[in-house]
Assembly symmetry: C2
Homo-oligomer: 330 residues x 2
């Protein structure tokens, strides 16, 4: 296939996060900007709550970047809800050219790539990305009514209630220097309770291509972090990479492993959802990149592209993994 890595020259000028109760109670709780212990954010449905998280995340990111709506040339947004309504409704009040995305849980990095392309190429001074997920809106759409209390498989992940927003521009102490968009990969996994296994091959595909094309190896990076493979998918990714001669075990982690406590929060295989990579990156990783503690990071968000309908029709789960290389500004 064609060489896929593209060089970019955009910075993350500001970022903001809004999360729910579980995320606030987790190990990164103090890193997030806002939370609501009711998970309703002042609305009367979970879907509206998710929209409201997006609205608050973008509002706060704009404020942090000291930029108004007029200063943003394009907005890239997406979520997991059918027809991506969390974004369409949540961002209505912002009169910004709107590109709706669907990349399942990979949407945050898909948005970072496309917004950086637009900004780096000079089509806008600044752009923005907003993504979200909500445990309750996702649960009832993809699985069972929340009230039903269905037993969860050990390989199941917990959808993060959270929204993250990023402002992309020339400034910022964290620079998006390169990107590798993912290709859709399907390796026969059809267990909708094991997204990690479905997504790991896509992550391995992207990571292998990145190392090969860039002629770098895992040790060249301070951290290699996936979006939400969780414990199950993360272990599979490490195994696949090891079999290919690339040992990432010493400097690899996953946003889905970071967001909840394994010891005190019963979240099985870890966190997932568009909001997982977005909130962990924006609140926890970004400050470390900005300070230089993590000078050179590969961030790879993964998404499982199936639907309840495609699973019912017996189809396996396609997945995609988008990668950006973020470095401390020098």
């Amino acid at each position: 296939m064609a060489k896929g890595i593209i060089e970019l020259n955009s910075g993350i000028e500001a970022a903001a996060t809004v999360v729910g109760k579980n995320e606030h109670e987790g190990p990164l709780g103090s890193c997030f900007d806002m939370h609501d212990d009711s998970d309703y954010f002042g609305t009367d449905t979970w879907e509206k709550a998710e929209s409201e998280m997006q609205r608050r995340a973008l509002s706060l990111a704009l404020k942090k970047a000291s930029v108004g709506v007029d200063g943003i040339g394009a907005l890239y947004a997406g979520d997991l809800l059918n027809q991506c309504t969390a974004s369409a409704y949540g961002l209505l009040e912002f009169d910004i050219p709107f590109f709706g995305l669907y990349g399942a849980c990979s949407t945050s990095v898909e948005g970072l790539i496309l917004s950086s392309v637009y900004q780096s190429a000079g089509y806008a001074e600044k752009t923005a990305v907003v993504v979200s997920s909500h445990y309750c809106s996702a649960e009832r759409q993809y699985r069972s009514p929340v009230e039903y209390g269905a037993q969860r498989s050990p390989t199941a992940q917990w959808t993060v209630t959270g929204a993250g927003a990023f402002i992309i521009g020339k400034g910022g102490k964290a620079k998006i220097r390169a990107a590798l968009p993912g290709i859709v990969v399907e390796k026969g996994i059809n267990d909708a309770s094991n997204m990690g296994a479905a997504m790991a091959p896509a992550a391995a595909n992207t990571l292998s291509r990145f190392f090969a094309e860039s002629e770098t190896s895992p040790r060249d990076y301070d951290l290699i972090v996936s979006g939400d493979l969780g414990y199950e998918g993360g272990a599979i990714l490490c195994d696949i990479m090891l079999a290919e001669g690339k040992d990432i075990r010493n400097n690899y982690t996953d946003c889905g492993m970071l967001i909840y406590s394994k010891a005190t929060q019963d979240k099985h295989a870890g966190g997932s959802g568009c909001g997982c990579a977005a909130t962990v990156t924006a609140s926890y990783l970004l400050p470390k990149i900005e300070s230089g503690e993590l000078g050179n990071v590969l961030l790879m968000a993964t998404g499982a592209m199936m639907s309840p309908m495609s699973i019912m029709q017996g189809q396996a789960i396609p997945a995609v993994a988008h990668l950006v290389n973020i470095r401390t500004a020098r």
Copy 2:
């Protein structure tokens, strides 16, 4: 808001269309590349049929452009199905970096803009866009089981069974010279059987901004064509524009009005769906632009961004309209 028009320099090197029975029987029937009178395209479900249409459309477009998968740097795709599965499954066999989009029925032009940005800025030699819709898969997802035979409102539109694919590059006789991404607009319409009324204000917003920013007027264009406002929405758009002093009635049409015969096909307010603007543009408008018969066209695809859930929760319908200016190469 920020000035939104961007200048582009991409060409449509090839395009291909795959449609169903009704579309083949319509006035543009002979323009489409392929059709299947069963609407199943050799598969056993409507959802798989929609994926298969995408697969065939891209395959044929690549063949027409004499380019292999290796020659395409990025693929932009979307559809109306929950989680955009028509694209994820339909394009699995193509190892091309994949950007999933959700813009409802505006996805074709959203894809043309983003793929042209990527190509014009030099991130890839060539890019591709594929979108689809299928009457039966849309009907059971958004409305009623097809077998139920629910009575349709006069303002209701008929989802086009069709997929369109475009190859974007330096060549081609039709050039994408400018674009204006839409902003999300919601004017209180909450009748899910009247998408035209919900989308017309978004179309008017984009068109007005385009005329204002470009300092042009309707008479500067050979044709102003919307994606799928249909008869209802198209009339509303003309009224809004007239009230703003821009009379588009003499050179305006809509893909949803063109694809079915009002006299012999009972499609109420006209066609809709991602496949509507895509197939009409690719099969009918593009040859006229390439030949110079239509030298300067404004193509504006419109999308209604609600979901069945958002309608059930009493929310009005947000909409977006993305615009590209396509001109004959000189």
